[in-house]
């Protein structure tokens, strides 16, 4: 037990130290690497707090995908030359520090004063969970009890992609710095890792109903496969979004809306999920939408095509 507390304290201190380094650092590349490390430690903290769903999501999205997007942005803004010194504005920094510091203090003080409310939403969820056919409370909250929030999250992701496409304008898809697949080991890496990521993604999706996992984690893992295929040139970015791409990008949102509206027409309350099949359908559609959207964002492209096609 005491060893656990020592580990937790070291983790907490490392998080604070790392976040300070990330914010005050002047070398862009090093800051990005430290930010990725920060994401991994946050994932470890969630695991220590007994929240494996969040740990998985943070490791895959917070550390992995955000890191890949940042490194890609770093490459494309062309800092191949010397590191540019970052200009600082101490007055602004002071104001921001004081404001955020007071916010943290207020929230912290409020949290210390809170007593556990007996009839909180969490208890209600755990009581009502058996009726949903799901055994993972997190998936239950995401899809059944707060399904509207999750649906709108898919809408946010779609809007983000549309925004990126607008910024992209008529520009040809960004030249993705890629490693030739004929480079020794890289081809073999793809042959080994791509099937494993597919397997893990499908496993996470199916496991999500009973155990930690679900559409977000599965989508993020699948995106990892997509990023690898873009980097090795197996998937090439294109300037036009084909019909299949458009369909897949809206699939998550569309599945939610169609299942919800269908329940409404069938005489249930609108937006209810009428069975476990609905959960699987929506989760699969969400996973595909999330993976394709993130891969397109990474590739700065409107569509993807296979090598040689």
């Amino acid at each position: 037990m005491t060893v656990g507390i020592v580990v937790d304290m070291m983790l907490g201190l490392a998080l604070v130290a790392l976040s300070l380094r990330v914010v005050t650092g002047t070398a862009l590349f090093r800051d990005i690497v430290l930010f990725i490390l920060f994401g991994l430690l946050v994932a470890l903290s969630w695991a220590r707090l007994g929240a494996p769903d969040l740990a998985l999501a943070e490791a895959a999205i917070g550390a992995g995908l955000t890191g890949a997007l940042m490194l890609m942005a770093y490459r494309s803004i062309g800092t191949d030359t010397e590191e540019r010194p970052v200009r600082r504005r101490p007055a602004v920094a002071l104001v921001v520090a004081v404001l955020t510091g007071s916010l943290v203090a207020v929230i912290g003080l409020a949290a210390l004063g809170i007593e556990r409310v007996p009839d909180a939403a969490g208890d209600a969820v755990l009581e009502a969970l058996p009726g949903t056919g799901l055994r993972n409370a997190v998936t239950g909250v995401l899809l059944v009890f707060r399904g509207l929030d999750t649906m709108l999250e898919m809408a946010v992701l779609l809007v983000a992609l549309l925004g990126a496409w607008t910024v992209l304008g008529d520009a040809r898809p960004g030249r993705v710095h890629r490693v030739d697949r004929r480079t020794p080991l890289v081809g073999s890496l793809l042959t080994v890792v791509a099937p494993i990521t597919l397997l893990v993604a499908v496993h996470l999706l199916l496991a999500g109903t009973d155990a930690p996992g679900g559409a977000f984690q599965a989508g993020a893992v699948l995106t990892g496969c997509g990023v690898l295929m873009v980097l090795t040139g197996t998937l090439r970015p294109t300037a036009v979004a084909g019909f299949a791409t458009r369909l897949l990008v809206v699939a998550g949102l569309a599945a939610f809306v169609l299942v919800g509206a269908g329940a409404g027409f069938a005489g249930h309350a609108p937006m209810t999920l009428t069975g476990t099949w609905a959960v699987y359908l929506i989760e699969t559609a969400m996973m595909l939408s999330i993976a394709l959207t993130m891969t397109l964002l990474f590739a700065r492209a409107r569509g993807l095509r296979g090598e040689g096609s």
Binding site: V179, T183, P184, L185, V186, S188, L189, V192, V193, I196
Partner: protein, 104 residues
């Protein structure tokens, strides 16, 4: 749990940590990209193996042991490919070689 088995598991994990520490010291102290990579990949792969073995012994379950072997293999593949790509990039970029510098 049997005391001897627990001791063996802990000893393996600690041995793994020693390898990790050695790899990290190599990363910090070695003079050029190539030898740093050498220290990091060799020592860390061995460290990961020992930690996985130790955890498998402590877990005492065939399923967990198998999953730990999978974790080690994937880590091995990732380390080998990334180290290879970094070394290749360094060579193409004309990164100096410490021992050859010393001979001059």
């Amino acid at each position: 749990m049997n005391g001897a088995v627990e001791t063996l598991g802990l000893a393996l994990v600690i041995a793994g940590c020693v390898f990790y520490a050695a790899g990290t010291i190599g990363l910090l102290r070695f003079p050029d990209v190539y030898s740093r990579l050498h220290a990091l990949t060799k020592a860390d792969n061995q460290g990961l193996l020992l930690v996985c073995l130790g955890l498998a012994v402590l877990a005492g379950s065939a399923r967990v042991a198998f999953l730990l072997i999978v974790v080690w293999s994937v880590g091995l593949v990732a380390a080998a490919v990334s180290a290879h790509l970094i070394a290749r990039h360094a060579r193409h970029a004309g990164e100096p070689h410490a021992s050859r510098e010393a001979e001059r």
